[in-house]
């Protein structure tokens, strides 16, 4: 009849399991995949990320040297990060914060000189 009671009593004498979120923020795990960002200086605009992305949220313009990502379409799978030939794409461990208006990450870099234009393999 009172089979749940021991569990409830045990909970009384244990430390509360609640994470008091806004007061104490928990450190994210080192492996966690969060916000995506690009080190635009290193980016060669090779479009590998745009091609590999399963939700097609990245748009790259090689001529104009722009990198765009729609964070509201991104599914935080990390495929682009793994495939980036320059390793300039990174994911923070923290999640992206909620917002009240839609936004698009737009980055403009410098157009690279001939030597590595459009060739992802070249380093």
């Amino acid at each position: 009849m009172f089979d749940m009671t021991p569990n409830i009593l045990r909970n009384f004498f244990h430390k509360s399991s609640t994470r008091l979120y806004p007061k104490e923020t928990r450190q994210a795990f080192g492996n966690a995949r969060g916000e995506l960002y690009n080190e635009i200086e290193a980016c060669i605009f090779c479009r590998t990320c745009a091609r590999k992305c399963p939700s097609q949220c990245i748009t790259v313009d090689t001529k104009e040297a722009t990198w765009q990502c729609d964070p509201f379409v991104c599914v935080y799978c990390g495929v682009c990060v793994e495939n980036c030939p320059k390793k300039c794409l990174h994911q923070k461990n923290d999640y992206r914060k909620p917002v009240t208006d839609k936004e698009i990450i737009f980055m403009k870099g410098e157009t690279k000189k001939k030597k590595c234009e459009g060739d992802p393999q070249e380093t």
């Binding site: 009849m1 089979d3 749940m4 021991p6 569990n7 409830i8 045990r10 909970n11 399991s17 795990f29 080192g30 492996n31 966690a32 995949r33 590999k52 992305c53 399963p54 939700s55 599914v75 935080y76 799978c77 990390g78 495929v79 793994e82």
Partner: protein
């Protein structure tokens, strides 16, 4: 006797997901049930046309948020079979580890929701409290709480170093201890028994005829579990299906509870036998031909039919999910029971509507 039709859903407190059941009642007794689906239908099988077969992994993973790893595993397994890829031993064991961690998570979630369906709020809270530890494991090892995205064609994406494996095991020890405390409640408690014993009976013959799968089938006494085929590394691990006898809601509850403990034991065994070596092989070529591949999801047998044409897009991807197979048995369980028991019976098959409709 006057017949009443009661619409059940699509937005209902008991279900986290929208499903609509048209219940035809006489007095308080259900006479007939007509399900209406389509509230979660996305049509993701068709996405194989616009995404290449590597990108489909992430899409398959999002067929269902509760068994995401296992969906991706099944898909990768199918493509590997088509392309004739042998994945490394270590990857096979790692797949088992993640799949079983996922099973623990899913069963705890279900045990909680089931308790909630008959109003046992404190048990619901307790189960979900335990489950958070598994979510932490997922986040620490895979990178995301729900969709760890660790399966790739040719193996797995992330390795588990010994420290991490040890940490996972200690966390699972804690989980097991807490789950054991719940044994008495889930299997013996007066309230639980009162609401589940003898409700929604599915006999062995009926279960076979209607094509029930997973715990619903095993709860009726059929010893069938796709893990017996020995896909991934299950062939090298000690495993016997948990079987119930009565085929009622209580028996399904018992099967799932015992499977939770079994899954923890399987993780432990897989970690102890984890071989060294690579975690993935390089994939070349494109899938061609057709294949049917099956794995055991927390809810039962999951079947993928994949047809490739040698190009980067698949010709056809067909997903048969366990809840889809469990709906006809559900329709046969419902007539003859009281309206108040409908949520309990519906939840006893562990419905996952997003799986069903894809």
């Amino acid at each position: 006797m006057a017949r009443t039709i009661i619409p059940f859903g699509p937005q209902h407190q008991v279900f986290p997901e929208p499903i609509h059941l048209k219940l035809v009642l006489e007095d308080e007794i259900v006479k007939e049930v007509v399900p209406a689906l389509g509230y979660v239908h996305r049509g993701l099988e068709m996405l194989a046309d616009v995404r290449d077969f590597h990108q489909m992994i992430q899409i398959c993973e999002r067929v269902c948020g509760i068994c995401s790893t296992i969906h991706a595993q099944c898909y990768c397994q199918g493509i590997e079979e088509l392309m004739g890829i042998e994945i490394p031993d270590r990857a096979r064991f790692l797949r088992v580890i993640w799949a079983e961690i996922h099973r623990v998570q899913s069963h705890l979630l279900w045990l909680g929701l089931f308790a909630d369906a008959f109003g046992f709020e404190s048990l619901f809270m307790q189960c979900w409290k335990i489950r958070e530890k598994i979510m932490d494991i997922n986040e620490a090892t895979g990178g995301n709480r729900v969709n760890p995205s660790i399966n790739i064609i040719g193996g797995v994406k992330r390795d588990m170093n010994p420290d991490m494996a040890q940490w996972v095991l200690t966390q699972l020890d804690l989980v097991e201890k807490e789950v054991n405390h719940l044994e008495k409640v889930l299997l013996n408690d007066y309230t639980v028994k009162k609401r589940t014993v003898g409700k929604g009976v599915l006999t062995r013959e009926k279960a076979m005829e209607l094509g029930a799968v997973g715990p619903t089938l095993r709860g009726s006494g059929v010893e069938q579990d796709i893990r017996q085929i020995g896909y991934a590394a299950y062939g090298e691990l000690a495993h016997r299906p948990v079987v119930g006898i009565d085929g009622d809601a209580y028996s399904r509850n018992r099967v799932r509870f015992l499977e939770t403990l079994q899954a923890i034991a399987l993780v432990r065994e897989a970690v102890s036998k984890l071989p060294a070596g690579d975690i993935s092989v390089k994939v070349k070529g494109k899938p061609e031909g057709e294949v049917v591949t099956r794995v055991e999801q927390p809810r039962g047998e999951l079947m993928y039919y994949i047809k490739g044409n040698g190009g980067k897009n698949l010709d056809r991807l067909r997903i048969r999910t366990p809840t889809f197979a469990n709906i006809p048995p559900l329709l046969s369980m419902l007539p003859g029971i009281e309206l108040a028991d409908v949520p309990v019976i519906v939840l006893s098959i562990d419905p996952c509507i997003s799986c069903t409709e894809r």
